[in-house]
Symmetry: C3
Subunit: 158 residues, 3 copies
Amino acid sequence: MIPPRHREAINDLLLDYGALIDGDKLEQWLDFFTDDCLYKIVPRENVVQNLPGVIVLCENKNMLIDRIVSYREANEYNLHYDRHIISNIRIRDLPERDAYAAEASYAVYQTNMDGESRLFSVGEYRDKILIQNGAAKIKEKVIIVDTYSIPTLLATPL
Amino acid sequence: MIPPRHREAINDLLLDYGALIDGDKLEQWLDFFTDDCLYKIVPRENVVQNLPGVIVLCENKNMLIDRIVSYREANEYNLHYDRHIISNIRIRDLPERDAYAAEASYAVYQTNMDGESRLFSVGEYRDKILIQNGAAKIKEKVIIVDTYSIPTLLATPL
Amino acid sequence: MIPPRHREAINDLLLDYGALIDGDKLEQWLDFFTDDCLYKIVPRENVVQNLPGVIVLCENKNMLIDRIVSYREANEYNLHYDRHIISNIRIRDLPERDAYAAEASYAVYQTNMDGESRLFSVGEYRDKILIQNGAAKIKEKVIIVDTYSIPTLLATPL
C-alpha cells in the first residue's frame, strides 16, 4: 500500500521532471537526483537482446552536473525546444523503506529554430525513487529509448 | 460517486493495458478481458456517418486469444516495437453494480527494425469495465481510430 | 493544500476540454469558460524573447463564441479530426480564494479527410481556474505553442 502523499510526491516529481527540461531549467532539474544517482539511456534493441551497450551513462550526480555544464558552455548545434509528454505512470512499492519503482511512457517532441515540430524520441522510464525528508528524489533513472538511431545530437536530457 | 479503490483499479488497468502490449506480454494482456468480452476497432469516419463497418471484431475472449496465437505463430511482417501514450482518462459510473465507463485518448508509436519511430495511430478508447472480486476487467473495448487508413498491417492490438 | 474535490474537478475540466474539442462539441466547450475569460495563443519564440505578438486573442467569452459561430458558418478548409493528448498536469493553489493555476503539456494530432494522421501542434497550457459553485471554470487559458509556424489554418481551438 503506497501512502497517498508518497504517490503524489512521485507523480509530481515525474511530471515536473519533464516540465523543467522543457522550460530549460536544467540546473533545477539536477536537484531531483540523489548524490549517488544513476542516470542511464539504453536502446531497447540492447535491452531485448541483453546487450550491454548504453547511449549515456552517468554514475553519480557530479557526472550529470558535468553534462549540464558542458551543454551550457559548448552547445551550438541542434538548438531547439523540447516538449515531454509523460504518461502511463505506474508506481510500485519496493522492499526497502520509502523506496518505490516508477515506470512511465514518454514521447519527446523537438521544435527547431525553423519552426518545425517533430517526434524526437519515444520510450519508457524505469525509475527508482526514494522519499527523503518528505521529498521524492531519483536514485535511478533508466531511460529505454525505442530506437538507437536518434536523429540528432542528444544535447538536452531525455 | 466512484469509490477511490475502483477508480485506482480502473486507472491501473488502462495504463497496464498499454504497458503489456508495449512489452510484448500479450498473453498477460488477455487476462484483462472478461470471457464474454467485446473487442472492436472502428474507424472514426464510420462512427461519424453511422456506418456499420469495423476493422477488427472479437466477440469473446476466445476470438482474442486466436488473434494472439496466430500473431505469435504467423507474423513475419511489420516487426516493430509499440509505444502507447494513453491520456485523458475519464471514468463514469454506470447504472449496473460495479460497472464503469472509461474513455481515454491514445497515441501509438511504432519503431521499426531500421530504427525509425513514427506515429502509428491516434484515436480513443471507449471501455466498459467491471470490478470482479476486487479486480478491474474489460467487458467492452471499443477503439475508435481517427483514420481507417492504417499505414501497415495491424499486427499487434491497439 | 488543494482539497481533493477541487483537484479532481480541475483534472476533469482539463481532460474534458480536450475531449469536447476532439468530439466537435464546441458549444459545450464554451461552457467551460467564465464570462470574463481570457483565451490567448502565443508562440513560444515570443514568450522566450519577451515579444508581444499573439496568434489568437479573445478577451472575453463573447469573443470566443464569435470564433465558434464563424467556424460553424464559414469553415470550408482544413476539414479534419482533432485528437488531444494532455499530460503532465500540475496544479498550484493561488492566493485568491478557490483559484488555482494549472499547467499541462499537450500534443494535438489532426487527421485529414485523406486519412492521414499527423502531429499538428505541441506546447503547453497555462490556466487560471476558478471553482464556482462547485464547478471548475477557466478564467484564463494561455496556450504556448512551441512553434509559430502552424502548418495549416488554425480552425478549431487548441
